[in-house]
Amino acid sequence: MSELRRDPITGRWVIVDTDNPTRPHEYEIEPPVWRPGTCPFCYGNENLTPPEIAVYRDPNTAPNTPGWQVRAVSNKFPALQIEGELDRRGLGMYDLSNGIGAHEVVVETPYHNKDLSDLTNAEVEDILRMLCQRSLDLAKDQRFKYIMIFKNFGPSAGASMEHPHTQMIALPMVPKNVKEELLGAEEYFDYRERCIFCDVIRQEISEKERIITDNKYFLAFCPYASRFPFEIWIMPKKHNSCFMHLNNEEIPFLAVVLKDIIARLKKVFDTPAYNFIIHTAPLDSNGHTDSYHWHLEFMPKLTRVAGFEWGTGFYVVPTPPEIAAKFLKEVKIE
């Protein structure tokens, strides 16, 4: 019989098919199809993007020319715009606000075809450093309440550009799912005076069966109430509510874990599309610091999610996380 499992943080129920778990080779991976054209993220095409906001580049090279390693630019087609005053208002029973926000793209590497797992540790560390640096800068803007960092890799994960990049959106409000997570964590903390994520880490380490890899500062595991097959969460072992406060000692360890899980996924599947999202505390996080714990949620795109899942928040997971973790753990990577 299958199992219904509840995520302890948000209270979301999922159906886990423990009866007939789907094996990795049973998933159909869609081959990526990209629109042809000049890539604006490659060397020499810097003029095709808005001017760079922040960059790591070779000394003696001019802005917006080749010679960079990581490059942050505004999204050319932003979902939200940076200019203007925030204007929240009502319309009868409805609430709305003008679309103020920031939408940036961090181009991870000059190499068009290198995913994170193909880069050197130092290169991935630079990307993480850039994400923190941009977050710290955007956090100064009083209009923003939340910074969302996410990556879409592959067209079926929603990426429109093939060249590896991560996106950042600064929002004038805290999104609903984040709020729920914060609230769930806060309720747990109020009663126990312990962080629920720290407790999750403790339980995962003692049960072992969902762990893929870990090192001094980070743990990667398939969450107990996964929504998607082969979903992976990376959590800092040391309590910290904000991603942007990641310190220099931890960054190399995060780079290693991130590269490691992507390399494993690519071995188990044939380069699946994926998304990851960094879950971090809102910018005015006073009071959330003890109860909330930043983490990265990584979701390979192996199944089509039907309307049922969207409409109900009730997910069906064809591969139990224990089995997914086992596959990922046992696969040999260089």
């Binding site: 019989m1 299958s2 199992e3 219904l4 499992r5 509840r6 302890p8 948000t10 209270g11 979301r12 129920w13 159906i15 098919d17 087609f77 979902a79 939200l80 203007g84 319309l91 009868g92 029973m93 409805y94 609430d95 709305l96 003008n98 679309g99 969302m148 996410f150 990556k151 879409n152 067209p155 079926s156 994960a157 929603g158 996106q167 959106i169 929002l171 004038p172 409000m173 999104p175 609903k176 799912n177 984040v178 407790d199 999750v200 049960e207 998304n275 990851f276 999202i277 879950h279 979701m299 089509r304 999610v305 039907a306 309307g307 049922f308 969207w310 109900t312 928040g313 009730f314 069906v316």
Partner: protein, 342 residues
């Protein structure tokens, strides 16, 4: 500039792209739905290819699992949840689980090999609605269940699979799904303060403002919701307040059938037969136990949410519940109003 809009019931924010708004013809074709079809087990005469029927509408008395039916309900061959066994809720450290008890049924909407519900006759649709009601009423008797979800996946990218025979699915769950709970809680909170149903207020405002109204007929309205998550999203709402779908009388069932047919036809004609999902949102089983509240008859309002699958949902939407909708609902409503659906 884009607009950020908040769903008044559950508080979800969406980004509505007002400037880079996409036109209907910019979503491309749905070519993946031309993949080869699998042999259909749902057509009349192939009754032995499904598990034995649970319920059927038969115009003249005829034996079960034989031809002569108009609508047929059978258990799913690949059920998410299983009907046999006792419910066993337990904890595992800080985690909660229960065994996968539930019902998973398929409502075969026609004995003909017709793919889209939009192409069924109004009378046929009325029989489908009656079958839904019949099944919900029957499953309510099972004390293990809290909720019945009725939904439809049409087309490959909506999760419809490779058999193109019109059908809906029904899942009875031993827990209230999260999204349902949020809606119920949102509606109750509004009622506690205003002593009015939030959906009734919404219907009033939509009829007054007109710009998101797609249809207003036979006791139902169809709107493009103010905080649409998806382009051309539609909600079908009964104008007369009722929290419970199963309370529909025969005249209302016929009215819903006509409305549903018309809006699904508009979708089919206007957007080149796109994949879509729909989900029935109705009140949970009201047992006087845990989770029961007395105002639910007044504060909740059943409805159907229809979401065409025209865009891919990216990581951003997944992780945050924060959707980017490339078509303002006002534009979507105007476009759909003007599509001639007979």
């Amino acid at each position: 500039m884009a607009e950020l809009r908040k769903d008044p019931i559950i508080g979800r924010w969406v980004i509505i792209a007002t400037e880079r708004a996409k036109r209907p013809d910019q979503f491309g074709s749905h070519s993946e739905d031309t993949m080869p079809e699998k042999p259909c087990p749902f057509c009349e005469g192939r009754e032995s290819q499904t598990p034995p029927e649970i319920f059927a509408v038969r115009p003249k008395p005829s034996p079960a699992n034989q031809p002569g039916w108009d609508v047929r309900v059978v258990p799913s061959v690949t059920p998410f949840l299983k009907i046999e066994g006792d419910l066993d809720r337990r904890g595992k450290g800080l985690y909660d689980l229960t065994n996968g008890i539930g019902a998973h049924e398929i409502v075969v909407e026609t004995n003909q090999h017709i793919a889209n519900m939009a192409d069924l006759g109004e009378e046929q649709l009325t029989k489908v609605i009656t079958s839904y009601i019949n099944r919900i009423v029957d499953l309510e008797k099972d004390e293990r269940f809290k909720y019945v979800l009725i939904f439809k996946n049409y087309g490959l990218s909506a999760g419809g699979g490779r058999v193109r025979h019109a059908r809906s699915q029904l899942i009875a769950t031993p827990v209230n799904p999260k999204r349902v709970k949020e809606e119920l809680v949102g509606a109750r909170q509004y009622y506690e303060y205003h002593e009015r149903c939030i959906f009734c207020d919404l219907i009033k405002q939509e009829i007054e403002q007109q710009d998101r109204l797609i249809l207003d007929m036979d006791g139902f309205i169809v709107i493009a919701p103010f905080a649409s998550r998806f382009p051309f999203e539609m909600w079908v709402l009964p104008k007369k307040h009722s929290c419970d779908f199963v309370k529909l009388d025969m005249a209302q069932r016929a009215g819903l059938a006509r409305t549903l047919k018309k809006c699904l036809l508009k979708l089919k004609k206007g957007l080149n037969d796109p994949p879509y999902n729909y989900i029935l949102h109705t009140a949970p089983f009201r047992r006087e136990k845990t989770g029961y509240w007395k105002s639910i008859d007044n504060d909740y309002h059943w409805h159907i949410e229809i979401t065409p699958r025209l865009t891919r949902v990216a990581g951003f939407e997944w992780g945050t519940g924060f959707y980017i909708c490339p078509v303002p609902p006002e534009n979507a409503a105007k476009f759909l109003r003007e599509v001639d659906a007979g």
